[in-house]
């Protein structure tokens, strides 16, 4: 079983990397980019039967720093091996 964890900065937390990316996109001539926020994607290959609670626990204890980051878990139940 696979799961993806998306880690994003909380709203209101300044994202200097996102700002730099935004600036670079503008430098390349891409107009109309209102804002850029950078985050992380972590893919987990898990034993079958790993519960949502366990994945959430992993996020809270290590994968995300909940002072500044939010996380969202996406389970890929039937993903091809």
């Amino acid at each position: 079983m696979k799961a993806r964890v998306f880690i994003t900065l909380k709203n209101g937390v300044l994202d200097p990397q996102g700002k730099a990316i935004h600036h670079a996109l503008e430098g390349l001539g891409f107009a109309g980019v209102n804002d850029v926020r950078a985050g992380k994607l972590i893919e987990l290959d898990l034993a079958d039967g790993t519960s949502d609670g366990e994945i959430e626990d992993m996020c809270r204890k290590l994968l995300a720093n909940t002072v500044i980051e939010n996380f969202r878990i996406e389970r890929l139940e039937n993903a091809p091996a």
Binding site: V13, L14, L62, V67, I68
Partner: protein, 222 residues
């Protein structure tokens, strides 16, 4: 004073801190490897040094904060043993939950490596007893992730309880309220981004950091 310096893979200020502690206390600190699950018997001061523990993987300090030795450090801090986290050590202490808030990428993204003026905001702590309140001192900084952030309520509480130990006089890295160093609620844990251990003898050009260790020695030995 029996001190211990924690060493992670990627620490690079551990020896500077050890030299500072030996010069001030007259005793060599125990160098404790991150895989050790216990601290030496009778340790009465713990230093978590600067560097790039675990290559700053995931987040600065995140992996180090979950290493076996940190459980022993958290226990010791809970018993009142003084703990200092300098630079990456500060990041480790926030990740370990010993200090509130988080240290994010510098607001202008660049690595900042220079001497910065600081104000001693609290001269009553274990670590700052040898400074005067409001005194201006200069410590070097060398960091990429020194942008201290916490929610407004936490920042207000830190200010109200006198737990902002050091503040930058100028804008350095985007830190909320220019916070450079904070104390935990019991006052026995200090985290700061600037490096006091790099300014302890005249050959360093300054000795402003020496009084931090001397003050600590006096309070711990008293």
């Amino acid at each position: 004073m029996n001190s211990a310096v924690i060493v992670f893979p990627g620490s690079n200020c551990d020896r500077d801190l050890a030299v500072a502690l030996e010069q001030v206390t007259g005793r060599k600190p125990a160098m404790v490897w991150h895989k050790d699950s216990e601290l030496p018997e009778g340790v009465d001061f713990i230093g978590v040094p600067g560097g790039f523990s675990y290559g700053d993987y995931l987040r600065s300090g995140a992996m180090a904060a979950r290493s076996p030795v940190m459980r022993a450090v958290v226990d010791a801090a809970g018993r009142g043993v003084p703990v200092i986290g300098i630079c990456n050590g500060f990041q480790v202490l926030t990740e370990a939950g010993l200090l509130p808030g988080a240290l994010m990428r510098n607001a202008r993204l660049s690595f900042v490596c220079r001497e910065v003026p600081l104000r001693v905001e609290n001269s009553q702590s274990l670590f700052t007893a040898n400074y005067n309140a409001g005194e201006e001192i200069v410590f070097p900084v060398a960091h990429h992730d020194g942008n201290y952030q916490a929610d407004e309520a936490t920042l207000d509480r830190l200010e109200g309880e006198g737990r902002v130990a050091f503040r930058y006089l100028d804008e350095v890295n985007g830190s909320a309220r220019r916070i450079a160093g904070i104390l935990n609620d019991s006052g026995n844990v200090l985290g700061l981004m600037p490096h006091p251990e790099r300014v302890i003898e005249p050959a360093h050009g300054r000795t402003d950091g020496r009084r931090l260790f001397e003050g600590l020695l006096e309070t711990v030995s008293a």
